[in-house]
């Protein structure tokens, strides 16, 4: 067994080396976010794209291999839009951008953040649908999108998220019905409240959950 682990480790090693040398891509991705944001409180002032990696930027946390694992910009008075480049932070575990004035859609590229554990975008002005691509976040445990202006139905694909512990999409403008299958069976109604057009739990066997949506 240990031999196998070693073999797998060796197998992964070259690709890992390659990726660690691409660390600047993460800085570029974050800098793309900086460019798309208005930052009246200057919390992003330290984000210098000429540095080797973004690991010494404030509000960014890296692991021992200088890969970004946390982005903590909750309550930072930021406005502007999220950028698709965020999807490049493949080691990101915590994306915390709650309580800002972010607008526009949630980029579907967020679904590429395969290490993501927590997506905290609550209390912003985000609009558009919840991207079905979020169902690719197989490590996701905490999905907090409450207090935005999200529309459309709750993607059924999200029910396949194996590790989801918390979902909060309350206080949006979602429609359709609430999924009840998969990981969704354990969530109570408070996770979905205050979506005037959301019609309650879906009826199993019914295919018409999109009505009025």
């Amino acid at each position: 067994m240990a031999l196998w682990a070693l073999f797998l480790l060796l197998l992964l090693q070259p690709s890992f080396l390659l990726k660690s040398s691409m660390a600047n891509l993460e800085g570029d991705a974050l800098f793309a976010l900086r460019r798309a944001l208005k930052d009246p409180a200057n919390v992003l002032q330290s984000w210098d794209p000429t540095l080797v990696n973004p690991c010494t930027w404030f509000h960014v946390t890296c692991d021992g291999d200088n890969r970004v694992t946390r982005l903590d910009l909750g309550n930072a008075n930021l406005s502007g839009k999220l950028v698709p480049e965020l999807g490049r932070l493949e080691h990101l575990q915590y994306l915390e951008l709650y309580r800002n004035k972010l607008r526009g859609p949630i980029p579907k590229e967020i679904g590429a953040l395969k290490s993501l554990l927590s997506l905290g975008l609550y209390h912003n002005n985000l609009s558009g649908p919840i991207p079905p691509s979020l169902s690719r976040l197989t490590n996701l445990k905490f999905l907090r999108l409450n207090g935005n202006s999200l529309t459309g139905r709750i993607p059924r694909d999200l029910t396949t998220l194996p590790n989801l512990k918390i979902i909060d999409v309350s206080n949006n403008d979602l429609c359709g019905s609430i999924p009840t299958t998969g990981s969704f069976y354990k969530f109570n109604e408070r996770s979905f409240e205050n979506n005037p057009r959301l019609k309650g739990p879906e009826l199993m066997g019914s295919v018409n959950y999109e009505i009025g949506c």
Binding site: V52, D63, F142, P162, N163
Partner: protein, 950 residues
């Protein structure tokens, strides 16, 4: 109004003119010129012979009439004169030409010049004249040339200039004039040249300009003109130059411009023009330069060189043009020399027709969507000096014929998808100065022949897959200024001859697999300013002679295996960044680093440095980042460091520093990260730290700090992480911590804290990573307010003296993944939602009951039914579990037998199967099964992902 006032003046002037004529000699001019001279400063002595003893007609700059009776010309251009233009000029009534251009004259243009009724040409350009262009100039009826540009003239163009119907040249460029272009401009029927460039003119271009039928040159570039380009400009058939660049013109390009049959130069760059490029522009058969760049033009390129036979420069960059390059963009024996099409949405393959364009010198197709291979016939472009194809999707190999492009100076192919090797033929390019191939998929070794390109000044091969070593002949490139080989798979040592590239200023070899030590020849690189070698396997001590490199400003040798002293890197006093993180450097920190007064980043962490922090570092007042962590430094944090009040990051953790945590740190207003953990600091946590209002991370753990946690800690309202664990802190947890609203990680464990857990902690609703208060002497009940920490993932209150019941509100902590309430004095029923946590989360308490502990069955009778249900469930689970275990053992044994027999390995699909199995379990139980595996502490968010990366 103005005209009415001027009328009597005109009358007076004509009377004066009659008088002068009757007077008939130059004596009057003489005294008047003396008065003019008296108001000029003449450092070069140009006016030296302007004296009464000398014949006036031989005075410098003066021209007399043929009968020597009148001064008709005065030319003092470029004479170094300063002072003002005297109103006395008005007495030179016969003056026809006045040229005071290119001097240092100040003050206004005197309105009295309006009296010079014979004046035909007035040149006042390139001085420092200020004020407005006076209306009186409109009285100069005979004026043909008025050039007053390149001054500091302000105000609007007086409409009275419209009276100057003989005017051929009007030059008002490079001043501070504003307002709109007066419609009276249309009265200037003789105007040939109108230059209004670089002012602040606004408003529309008056359509009346189309009346100036003689106009050959119209330049109004660099103003704030708006609106559309008047279509009537198309009537100006004599126009040769139309220059309206850098305004805010909008609308489309009028098709009427196609009628300008004499136009040679059309420049509309930097406006907001939209729509398509009018196909009518192809009628401009005389056109030599066409620049429509930086607009919002769309559609396809329809400029056809087959009709624009005289076109030399075609600049359409930075628009929204689509489609490919038309096949007849350039025909053989054309004059086209420059084609700039960058920053559009053009696509298609490299047009082979373009290869006929042997006149081409510069070709820029960068930042478009071109794809496909580069044609091997590129060498037909034998006059090409610059080939700019970066930021496209070109693929395939670099054609070896590129070596025949003997005029090539700049080759910009970066950010494409080129593959294969650099052809050895590149070595034939003796004029090549810039080679940018970065961010492609090129591979193979860097050919030795490249070092034959003796003119090379810049090489950038960053972000490819080059292997092998750096060519040992690299030292032949005597002109090399910039060498970037970062992020490749290069191995081997740095060739010693690199030291002979003595002009080298920037050297970037980072992110490779280079090894060996730095060659002593590095000392010859005296121009070197930036050197980045991070993420390689360099080793050994640095050559001492590096101390001779006095121009170094950025050094990054981090993540290598360099050893020995860092002293050789302290020779330059112009250092801005020094990053030696993660090497094996030893010895002391050289005090000489303090000579680099501009040092902003100093990172020496993760080495084996010893000794103390030099007190001279107090001179580094620009220092923003100081990282000395993970060394063996001793001594105290010296008082002198308090001068470094620009510090944003101060990382001194994991050393053997002693003394107290300095209170002056409170003066570092920009401090965002302070890590003094894992040292031997004693004394208290200084209350002054509460003044570091921008602090995001405060880590003082694993020291010998004692005393109370100062309540001022609550002033750190930005704080994300507070870690004071493993100290000797006493007293209560200050309730002011509640003000640190942004805390997501709070660790106070392993101290001697006493008193109750303040209920205010419940206000820290962003707490997420952990709340760790374990191993203290906290007493009282667990405040129910902790149930509000909805995001909390880990809660550790173990090894305290907490008593009473576990508040039911804690059961609402749905994000909780790890919980440790063990070894307290707790009693009563555990919230039912905690049943998934392991026993070890609760052991060592007084009298806790409920799942996963023993049931509280003996307590209340009404609960008996529900509990017995639970027992039934437990029995069923036990049965299922036991039978599953037996089954698994059997399966395992069978598999072992099978494997031993087959001797075939299990592929990774096996683990995939396990994964899905686990997934299913979770679906059934709806809880994390990891909790049931006992070792709760290891189950955390980090380790669940990390094993994949390591």
């Amino acid at each position: 109004m103005g005209m009415i006032q001027i009328c009597p003046l005109v009358l007076f002037l004509s009377v004066l003119g009659v008088l002068t004529f009757t007077h008939g000699d130059t004596s009057m001019d003489s005294s008047c010129l003396q008065r003019i001279k008296s108001q000029l400063v003449d450092p070069e002595g140009v006016l030296r012979n302007w004296s009464s003893g000398i014949d006036i007609c031989s005075w410098n700059g003066l021209t007399c009439s043929e009968d020597l009776t009148h001064v008709v010309g005065l030319n003092l251009s470029g004479s170094g004169l300063s002072g003002i233009i005297s109103p006395e000029f008005s007495c030179l009534v016969s003056l026809q030409i006045l040229d005071l251009s290119s001097n240092y004259l100040t003050g206004p243009i005197p309105p009295e010049l309006g009296k010079l009724q014979n004046l035909k040409e007035l040149y006042l350009y390139s001085n420092f004249l200020s004020g407005k262009i006076s209306a009186e100039l409109g009285l100069l009826k005979k004026l043909q040339v008025l050039r007053v540009g390149n001054n500091m003239l302000t105000g609007e163009i007086t409409p009275h200039l419209g009276n100057l119907t003989d005017l051929r040249v009007l030059g008002l460029a490079f001043s501070l004039l504003n307002g709109s272009i007066p419609v009276e401009i249309g009265n200037l029927k003789s105007l040939k040249i109108l230059n209004l460039q670089q002012n602040s003119f606004s408003g529309l271009i008056p359509g009346e300009i189309s009346s100036c039928l003689e106009l050959q040159v119209f330049s109004a570039a660099g103003n704030m003109l708006e609106g559309e380009i008047p279509a009537s400009i198309g009537k100006l058939e004599s126009l040769e130059i139309l220059h309206l660049a850098n305004n805010t013109l909008s609308g489309s390009i009028p098709i009427e411009l196609g009628s300008l049959s004499n136009l040679k130069y059309l420049n509309l760059l930097g406006n907001g023009l939209n729509g398509k490029i009018p196909v009518e522009l192809n009628q401009l058969s005389m056109l030599e330069t066409l620049d429509l760049s930086n607009n919002k033009l769309s559609g396809k390129i329809n400029i056809l060189n087959s009709r624009l036979r005289n076109l030399e420069s075609l600049v359409l960059s930075d628009n929204f043009l689509t489609g490919g390059i038309p096949s007849d963009l350039c025909v053989s024996n054309s004059n086209l020399q420059k084609v700039f099409l960058s920053l559009n949405n053009l696509s298609g393959t490299f047009p082979s027709e373009l290869l006929n364009c042997s006149s081409l010198q510069q070709l820029d197709l960068s930042n478009n969507g071109f794809y496909g291979q580069l044609p091997s016939g590129l060498d037909n472009l034998r006059n090409l000096t610059d080939l700019v194809l970066n930021n496209n999707s070109f693929s395939g190999k670099l054609p070896s014929e590129i070596g025949n492009m003997s005029s090539l100076k700049g080759l910009y192919l970066f950010h494409n998808s080129l593959t294969g090797r650099i052809p050895v033929e590149i070595g034939k390019l003796q004029r090549l100065t810039v080679l940018y191939l970065y961010e492609n998929q090129l591979s193979g070794s860097i050919p030795r022949e490249l070092t034959n390109c003796s003119s090379l000044m810049e090489i950038d091969l960053f972000g490819n897959h080059f292997t092998g070593s750096i060519p040992a002949t690299i030292g032949k490139l005597k002109h090399l200024v910039f060498l970037q080989l970062r992020q490749n798979d290069l191995s081997g040592p740095i060739p010693p001859c690199l030291g002979y590239c003595k002009k080298l200023q920037k050297l970037a070899l980072a992110d490779n697999r280079l090894s060996g030590s730095l060659p002593p020849t590095f000392r010859f690189l005296t121009e070197l300013s930036v050197v980045t070698l991070y993420n390689n396997s360099f080793e050994g001590p640095l050559p001492e002679s590096l101390f001779l490199l006095k121009n170094l400003s950025i050094i990054n040798f981090s993540h290598n295996r360099f050893s020995g002293s860092i002293f050789p890197l302290s020779g330059s006093s112009t250092l801005i960044v020094l990053d030696l993180t993660n090497n094996s450097f030893s010895g002391g920190i050289p005090t000489r680093l303090a000579e680099s007064k501009n040092l902003t980043r100093l990172r020496l962490g993760h080495n084996h440095l010893t000794g103390t922090i030099p007190s001279e570092f107090g001179q580094l007042i620009e220092l923003n980042f100081l990282d000395l962590s993970f060394n063996n430094l001793t001594g105290e944090v010296i008082q002198e460091l308090s001068n470094c009040n620009q510090l944003e990051h101060l990382l001194l953790n994991d050393n053997r520093l002693t003394g107290t945590v300095p209170s002056w740190l409170g003066r570092f207003q920009g401090l965002g990260e302070l890590d003094l953990s894992s040292n031997d600091f004693h004394g208290t946590v200084p209350a002054e730290l509460g003044s570091c209002s921008k602090l995001l991370k405060l880590s003082l753990h694993s020291n010998n700090l004692s005393g109370w946690i100062p309540p001022e800690i609550g002033n750190l309202t930005c704080l994300n992480v507070l870690d004071l664990q493993r100290n000797n802190l006493t007293g209560p947890i200050p309730s002011t911590v509640q003000q640190c609203k942004k805390l997501y990680e709070l660790r106070l464990s392993e101290n001697f804290l006493t008193g109750m857990i303040p209920s205010e902690l419940g206000k820290l609703t962003e707490l997420q990573v952990i709340l760790d208060l374990s191993r203290n002497q906290l007493s009282g009940e667990i405040p129910s307010s902790l149930g509000k920490l909805m995001k909390l993932e880990r809660l550790n209150l173990s090894f305290n003296q907490l008593q009473g019941e576990v508040p039911p509100s804690l059961g609402r902590l749905t994000s909780l993944q790890m919980l440790n309430l063990s070894n307290n004095l707790l009693q009563g029923q555990v919230p039912s939602t905690f049943s998934g946590f392991p026993l070890s989360s609760f052991v060592g308490n007084k009298d806790l009951c409920g799942a996963p502990l023993v049931s509280c069955s003996e307590s209340v009778g009404s609960e008996r039914k529900w509990l017995s249900d639970n027992e039934v469930a437990a029995i069923i689970v036990a049965i299922v579990f036991t039978s599953t275990v037996i089954c698994l053992v059997l399966i395992y044994m069978m598999l072992r037998i099978w494997f031993d027999w087959r001797k075939v390995s299990v592929s990774s699909s096996d683990s995939g199967g396990l994964e899905s199995n686990r997934e299913e379990m979770q679906w059934f139980y709806g809880e994390d099964n990891e909790k049931k595996n006992g070792d709760y502490w290891r189950v955390n968010s980090l380790t669940s992902v990390q094993p994949q990366e390591k």
